[in-house]
């Protein structure tokens, strides 16, 4: 469905010693219908820029984005708005608190793409359906973003993304700002929506554990380049690149079952217990 080839983005530098910044450097991958691809990498690795180029928020410098065979990178941004692909690719933004318009209620935020992209006149029924599909209580639809919790804001953002019945959702750090239990709820919701609606996901995150749960394949990016790609299980269990191995080693694990971790822990504990008898009572 989506085929990206040699996609690059070079930003002009700013200031008196301006140097161009190569944000994305010749990335290629493809994504089938119903598939979920994770893009991981540290901050500044160009993963958000890549996502924004595919949703045509940023103009690529070079390369092709083939969506159902048509190169959408060649369409000028002003013309893209009126193309049918505009509604089929939707972007769910990183920080919902900052990306929902503060003067629009949840209802207005979800109704907006229905009016603009779908051309519906009477949106009420569809907004309520969308709110139900993301398990957002209908009572909350009249609230403004600041009156909603983080998890509720995330649900509004997802409902807004689903409004135009897209084929591809670009999810940029969908749960980075959320609590563990809220994160669990949102991840479950996204997983169910993908299966129910047959969506494709491009999941941009720095949390490898989220990729493990949500994606079939993964791409590791560094300094704008692709350093590793493959099925999630293979890449997570046995990364081939040096950077991939460093990244996997840095992920905090809940069970300290690997041997050196346990030894280290025991040594630390014994050192601590020599100093004090134990926690307070």
């Amino acid at each position: 469905m989506l085929k990206v080839s040699a996609l690059s983005k070079v930003f002009d530098g700013r200031g008196w010693k301006a140097q161009p910044v190569i944000a994305v450097d010749g990335i290629s991958f493809d994504l089938a219908k119903g598939e979920s691809l994770g893009i991981v990498g540290e901050s500044g690795s160009g993963k958000s820029t890549l996502g924004r180029m595919i949703s045509r928020l940023i103009q690529p410098t070079k390369g092709k984005i083939l969506f159902d065979g048509e190169d959408i990178a060649a369409i000028p941004p002003a013309a893209f708005v009126r193309r049918p692909q505009r509604g089929r690719i939707q972007h769910v933004f990183q920080d919902t608190a900052e990306n929902l318009t503060p003067h629009m209620t949840a209802f207005a935020a979800i109704a907006d793409p229905l009016r603009r992209l779908v051309g519906l006149k009477d949106v009420t029924g569809r907004v309520c359906e969308l709110a139900d599909s993301v398990s957002l209580s209908r009572d909350l639809l009249e609230r403004y973003p600041h009156q909603l919790s983080g998890g509720q804001q995330a649900r509004v953002g997802i409902a807004r993304g689903l409004a135009s019945e897209p084929d591809l959702l670009i999810l940029d750090e969908p749960t980075a700002a959320l609590d563990v239990s809220v994160q669990a709820a949102i991840l479950k919701l996204l997983h169910r929506l993908r299966i129910d609606l047959g969506l494709s996901y491009l999941l941009i995150t720095h949390d490898i554990e989220v990729v493990r749960l949500m994606c079939e394949r993964v791409i590791i990016m560094r300094n704008g380049q692709l350093v590793e790609a493959g099925p999630v299980r293979t890449v997570l269990a046995a990364p081939q690149s040096e950077y991939g191995r460093a990244l996997m080693a840095a992920v905090p694990r809940l069970e300290t079952s690997h041997l050196d971790g346990q030894i280290d822990l025991r040594r630390r504990q014994s050192a601590a217990s020599r100093i004090m008898p134990g926690p307070s009572s």
Partner: protein, 303 residues
């Protein structure tokens, strides 16, 4: 070194009295790294501010005290007579830096000019960044400057409040290694406030679990992750992606934190608890030691 005993803090607000902390007790020894985990709104930050001496004027200490090597210290730094060498890393790094002075000037204030480059390198920042202002750096870079500032004063106790939340895993690991190294080498104690249970499990000796202003469980890491006693801890572990094999496995903690300004059950977890029984509503459950190191505040613990 630091002992908090029965600390109960209320905030007077227009909505009524918010009972933010309830009978919180903890001790931190030199060289020890203690994790404090819980959902947003569970009172983690209020406790960390009380320890750092940064509590708001609206806060009212109803009971309990904070002691630094046995001497009581107040929750307001300016009123402390005993100097407690506590440094805090703040949640919002950009807001805690001075926007009209360079990073280097601010670091020199706490550590002297000579150590600026070393401090920046220790948090994996280019020493050239000393000439930049906070608005010229990314969020992650600001956060690392905040960490360098806190470590630059060579504190005896470091209070790290969600200090690595916005960082990517490699930088997070580097920062945690640095904190671990300082505690091992100089005996710096650390209170690591986080909602990332896996992070706490990897880098702490002991974890305290907080729910709605109460400490519900306290145990060494290995015990807490393998044999949690409080139902809330078990649910918190089940909600982490690390614990689950697939997205369908993820467990969502039912219900929400109770309104701390409203009517509270004796056990503040009662409304969300699947093991709730009539005797839970009689009196607040005390924090009791099930084994010498493992404390839990529950009348019907797991296991």
């Amino acid at each position: 070194m630091l002992a908090v005993d029965g600390l109960t803090v209320h905030f007077e607000t227009r909505r009524g009295v918010v009972r933010a902390l309830d009978r919180v007790s903890l001790q931190i020894a030199p060289g020890e790294i203690v994790g404090l985990v819980g959902e947003s709104g569970s009172g983690k930050s209020v406790l960390s501010y009380a320890i750092s001496g940064l509590l708001d004027a609206a806060a009212h200490i109803v009971a309990g005290d904070i002691r630094w090597y046995g001497t009581p210290i107040g929750p307001v730094r300016e009123q402390r007579t005993t100097r407690a060498a506590v440094a805090q890393i703040f949640q919002n790094p950009r807001a805690s830096l001075n926007p009209i002075r360079t990073i280097g000037q601010q670091l020199a204030d706490v550590a002297g000019k000579a150590r600026v480059a070393d401090l920046l390198r220790s948090v994996r920042l280019d020493p050239e960044k000393a000439r930049n202002y906070s608005f010229e750096l990314s969020g992650g870079q600001c956060q690392r400057v905040g960490i360098a500032l806190a470590l630059g004063c060579e504190p005896e106790l470091l209070v790290a409040d969600e200090s690595t939340t916005g960082l990517d895993v490699t930088t997070e690991a580097a920062v945690m290694d640095l904190i671990g190294d300082l505690s091992a080498r100089r005996g710096m104690a650390t209170l690591l406030v986080t909602h990332n249970l896996a992070l706490a499990a990897n880098h702490c000796h002991r974890i305290l679990v907080m729910h709605a202003g109460q400490i519900v469980e306290s145990a060494p890491v290995a015990m807490l992750t393998t044999a949690a006693l409080h139902p809330y801890t078990a649910q918190l572990i089940a909600a982490t992606p690390q614990h689950s094999a697939s997205a369908d496995d993820l467990q969502v903690i039912p219900g929400q934190l109770p309104d701390l300004a409203g009517v509270l059950m004796p056990c503040r977890f009662a409304t969300r608890c699947q093991r709730h029984a009539p005797d839970c509503d009689e009196a607040p459950p005390p924090l009791v030691a099930m084994t010498p190191n493992h404390l839990v505040a529950c009348r019907h613990p797991l296991c």
